[in-house]
Symmetry: C2
Subunit: 344 residues, 2 copies
DNA sequence: ATATAGCACTCTCGAAATGAGAGTGCTAAC
DNA sequence: GTTAGCACTCTCATTTCGAGAGTGCTATAT
């Protein structure tokens, strides 16, 4: 069954109003607030129909109407394509990015901060992660005695570092030689490639190679790279979170990195870069998030390096603000990633 | 005026009980719950005295007693020296640390997690930070085109990395030579030392040196290094935070890194490594934390590299658990830092 | 047919009323 | 010094109540 034009406008207006005020919207209030040329009675009739169709519901018989999940979905579907971030805001955001120093960590933190601020929700951003990790460069630096700092650089610029403790002291010179040999040998190889290489005759070389392999595996398994979040306290004052334990429990998800990653991976697996998903009411099997919505997007260079970013908020979140912001920041990060690995 | 032995015991018991139950403790309840050989009436008399002296107060005339800040302070002072973490817990924690891979980042995350879990509060840990940054090693790696990854290692193992974009492409070979020259020239120097060096004749060398200097300055100004926190959601369900807006607002401090740093620096400036401070009710001029307490400690090698860690919770926090945990983890981190930079 | 006015009806929400219970302080006796 | 007893106070949960909000339905106007 289709919605008439009038029903559609009314529905959108109701959702919008509810998002702003957080209280059930009444026929009278609607008629007054927005000067529609309709009487409350007429609006009531239409509301009854919309309720029948599952877009609205009444908390109790003598309250106004509140959108159902279906109602939110309709709203989001309608405004998805039209919503644009004001240009001044775009410039402001872009400015911050291009002014920060060019460092993945900075960018991620900044992205999380911008998202949280603009949307007044909780933001999550994962660092860009190569689909397949390739060795680029290793550096072995003796700190002192048997302690060695290993800095491993992957193709694409990802860096991992760790401190090793050797069984016996080794000179910096020997470390440098080992590093040089490995750099030549392993350049551009994937973890699988390295695993299938024959053992090195030199014991130190062999040990280091194994450690590198291990590190690359670890890097690969971190499906989504590091996770940055911001704005946790934003939602604390939202009525949904003050009142319901359930909503508060949802926040716990955001502190547990492993579940969070799971969530992200699951929701963004089938979404392509550029595409944007809105999950309303914990769609996709997240019981804990039944009262929440997420706006997520993937960014990066498809097939090479990608990451994801999103915003979580109450189902009543300001989609009109959140959606374009997520989309814009995703685009920005894609550009930055692109520039960084250009000409690969 | 001194407290009699009986008053002291009573006071400690009351504080302990209140910490556990979160509700005002009554004379009767106290007499029943702990089998003291005293009647409620006697206890009431003593309570009246303790109230007089400012250690207790009554939320209203017909409620039990609640500790005042002064009461908490007394409690903490008394148990400060005796509280010990059960050995099984100690082993469990140590195990986690020695099992994790030896990486500052891992350690910090782990420390934050352990603190948050054990104390059921919000934990904060700052990475160890050298009192004075000294150059150790630089590595320049061409990623592609004009993009160069600069990895800077300080004495002590601190690493900073950034991506540079040069005005024109430079070969890896030339970068390596520059790095080698700078490594020789700058080894062991402080930022000030470097600033006073004459300009290099080679333009690339000079540019890089300036960038290194800049990076070191930045590293120095980050007074407390990176900040790790955990357990934010722990306190959300505590009654204090559910009820009062004020307490909730305090959490906002913890999302704003800059204020947080300020707080840490100010509170730990005059505390020595090994010492442990308990700030009750926002002592030290933090209005926002009037309802909270913090247990903070400094760790590391005095005069060389230090960091700090702490736990924030409601004034009603389980000090008996938190204090020994903070102390133990601080010791552990000190050991780890020590091992890492041993023989410097 | 569609929109509207009117009205009866239902339900929530806040305020006021009430009463039980918790806990105290004081006094007098042990 | 300790304790039993008792009067007193205040809170908190519960109930009652009425006002108000908002609806759905029906009859009327366009």
């Amino acid at each position: 069954m289709e919605l008439t034009e009038r029903q559609k406008n009314l529905l959108l207006l109701i959702v919008k109003d509810y998002i702003e005020t957080a209280r059930p919207v009444s026929s009278k209030g609607l008629a007054e607030h927005y000067h529609i040329h309709l009487s409350p009675a007429t609006i009531r009739n239409e509301m009854a129909v919309l309720t029948e169709m599952g877009y609205l519901r009444q908390p109790h018989v003598s309250a106004g109407r509140v959108p159902t999940e279906e109602g939110y979905r309709y709203f989001v579907r309608e405004m998805m394509n039209q919503a644009e971030l004001p240009e001044s805001v775009q410039r402001m955001i872009a400015h911050q990015f291009y002014q920060s120093r060019p460092d993945i960590d900075q960018w991620m933190t900044l992205a999380a901060s911008v998202l949280a601020h603009q949307s007044q929700g909780v933001s999550v951003v994962t660092a860009p992660h190569p689909d397949q990790v390739k060795f680029k460069h290793v550096e072995l630096i003796s700190t002192q005695g048997r302690q060695v700092l290993m800095v491993l650089v992957m193709v694409g610029g990802e860096v991992s570092q760790q401190i090793l403790t050797l069984s016996e002291p080794v000179t910096q010179e020997r470390l440098s030689q080992t590093a040089a040999r490995l750099n030549k040998l392993l350049a551009g190889l994937t973890a699988d490639d390295i695993a299938s290489l024959p053992a090195r005759s030199d014991a130190l070389d062999q040990d280091m190679m194994m450690l590198i392999l291990q590190d690359m595996r670890r890097s690969e398994s971190r499906l989504a790279g590091e996770i940055y979040t911001d704005g946790l306290t934003n939602v604390l004052s939202e009525p949904e979170f003050v009142e319901s334990d359930e909503a508060r429990r949802a926040l716990r998800l955001f502190e547990e990195r492993s579940t969070l990653q799971d969530l992200l991976v699951r929701t963004t697996l089938n979404s392509s870069v550029g595409g944007l998903q809105v999950l309303i009411g914990g769609e996709g099997g997240w019981e804990e998030l039944r009262q929440c919505s997420m706006v997520v997007a993937r960014y990066g260079v498809p097939g090479l390096v990608t990451g994801m970013l999103g915003v979580l908020g109450p189902m009543r979140m300001p989609y009109a603000r959140t959606i374009p912001t997520v989309r814009y920041v995703a685009g920005l990060l894609s550009d930055l990633v692109n520039e960084t690995i250009a000409g690969e």
